[in-house]
Amino acid sequence: MAVPSYAGPLERAWYYGFRAICVLIFIFLITPILVIVPLSFNVEPYFSFTEGMLTLDPDAYSLKWYQDFFTSDRWQESIKNSVIVAFFSTILSTGLGTVAALGLSRSELPYKGIIMGLLISPMIVPLIIAAAGMFFFYSALGISNSYLGLILAHTALGTPFVVITVTATLSNFDTTLIKAGASLGATPTYTFFKVTMPLIMTGVISGALFALMTSFDEVVVAIFIAGVEQRTMPMQMWAGIREQISPTILAVATLLVAMSIIMLTTVEILRRRSDKIRGIS
């Protein structure tokens, strides 16, 4: 979309004006993510750049908020809890979601619309409503204030992502491959592991990453149903931001941004790989 050489001055102005607007929007998108990184190294407990930081004075920077984070029992405990909960809920939601997606992609399944609506409802229903419902029901079952309750809740919230990504991969899936496998004498199980699995794997993994991220970032339901022993990292951040927002929060935020970069890269690599397999690009 370069400016054609015959373009008039007005068109030229419009072209550059449009680009400038887009640059501003990109700045709006990315600044909040990037700005916290240098601030998390601020030696002062402020949320703004000090003179020393702007002149790149090394004394204006410090790792003390990271030290604070890595030596605080509460933060360490909360990371541990987040990892436990995210790990199990990701496994559960990936398993359940993938199997369900296999069923959903079969044309023989009746009431497909209703089932799909039901399965993605955790994505649609406002979290505060889900949290309130779980608060009562999980208490009644005796699994509130327990890892089990939190894992089940996060599993429910994570499954829609797995269902959607795996169903999407399966919709591009060439079913004749399974028939080919069968006609060559392979058992259904063998075909599944040797043919289906590798082809839908990219969808499964990106779904799993979505589920992982959902659990790792979820705070509303956690506030309502987790007890003190299950305090997760987002809960700790929520309490921190509400009470007194210290730069330690920014240090945590920076680490989380690094994590999301890793996740994003993985998903992108997978997407390209799957596009290649399907011969799209």
Partner: protein, 364 residues
């Protein structure tokens, strides 16, 4: 594959559950308010208790939603808290609703060192059946000295005087204390506040007074927020819990001054939830944390008045700075000239209505 998946998840989840169950046996969950306050309880009660008994204390900061949690847990028959730090007013509701253990005070608590029974030693009338008060705390007004060059505010009426004392105010986002102050600033004598507030005209009058400063108010919800706003210079005057403000004055050297005029004081203390999972350890903790020495020890960390009269003479100096704690206590004669005792009965009856009115007023 489905089968193995299910089996393995069952195993894994089972082990997680088992792990938490084992953990619970040698620890109790104490729910309190967080921040400097939980730190003071940790220093005065919890750490020595753990050292003595080997029972570890899990601090939870959910006391702000204490009654909600208690109701939900009791309704579900699944109580997970062992000890709950609660305000006197809420403790009455908890007791009336059968959510808290009824105590036999002379048996469940330690007598004073001179043998005075608990019923005679605690603040008169505060032992309401389930509740054991530990402290007297006050909601007060404080200002940042740097915000006022000349004349400094000194009364509740000054808080509402935007002309003489300009700047933003930070107030707690609930009707309690704010309505009382509005009436006092409007000329109602301290002793008459609840009589006036009990009439529809009185409520209108209080809200009308609050209207005069509404657009200059930042509303806070957590105790440490008030201090933060004052320290950051976002506001020049803030309401806050006197202990938190003291903590900022002493530990963070903040230039804050407390206006003791019209301090709204109330009691805070413990209840044991009915059905607490570690009942015995919880009762041991209650006995330990509320005895005279421990009650006095807490005042080394934070400026809240001890609820036992036998503890008052034992109040000494601040643990790190060594300053005399007496003058910082809300109950010190110099500070206790025009106090408002928050009326738990009034608030138990009117909280629902006034909160709704307050929220509607905020949303306007």
């Amino acid at each position: 594959m489905k089968k193995t998946l299910k089996l393995s998840t069952a195993l894994v989840l089972g082990s997680v559950v088992a792990a938490t169950a084992v953990q619970a046996a040698d620890s109790i969950t104490v729910v309190s308010w967080g921040g400097a306050y939980t730190a003071s309880q940790r220093g005065a009660y919890s750490d020595p208790f753990t050292a003595e008994t080997g029972i570890t204390i899990l601090d939870s900061d959910q006391a702000g939603n204490g009654l909600a949690g208690l109701r939900a847990q009791s309704e579900a028959g699944n109580v997970t808290w062992d000890v709950l730090d609660i305000l006197e007013g809420d403790s009455m509701l908890a007791c009336d609703e059968g959510l808290a253990v009824e105590l036999d005070y002379n048996k469940d608590l330690n007598a004073a060192p001179d043998g005075t029974s608990p019923l005679d030693d605690f603040i008169p009338g505060s032992l309401n059946g389930c509740f054991v008060p530990t402290i007297v705390y006050s909601t007060v007004i404080a200002y940042n000295q740097t915000a006022f060059a000349g004349d400094k505010p000194s009364t509740i009426a000054d808080v509402f005087d935007l002309k003489k004392y300009p700047g933003k105010r930070a107030l707690e986002k609930k009707p309690d204390a704010n309505l009382e102050w509005a009436l006092i600033a409007d000329g109602v004598p301290v002793g008459e506040v609840y009589n006036v507030l009990d009439t529809p005209e009185g409520v209108d009058r209080a809200f009308a007074k609050l209207d005069t400063i509404k657009d200059q108010v930042v509303w806070w919800e957590a105790g440490s927020q008030a201090v933060q706003l004052l320290a950051d210079g976002e506001v020049s005057i803030a309401s806050g819990y006197n202990g938190r403000i003291f903590d900022a004055q002493v530990n963070e050297k903040q230039p804050f001054t407390i206006i003791w005029d019209g301090q709204v004081f109330e009691l805070d203390g413990y209840v044991i939830p009915k059905g607490a999972p570690n009942m015995k350890a919880a009762m041991d903790y209650l006995r330990y944390a509320t005895d005279t020495q421990r009650n006095a020890d807490q005042a080394k960390y934070i400026s809240y008045g001890p609820a036992r009269s036998s503890a008052a003479p034992l109040v000494s100096t601040h643990i790190t700075t060594g300053i005399d704690m007496g003058p910082h206590m809300p109950t010190h004669p110099d500070n206790f000239k025009t106090p408002v005792k928050k009326d738990p009965g009034f608030w138990a009856d009117n909280k629902d209505d006034l909160s709704e009115r307050f929220n509607a007023w905020l949303a306007q």
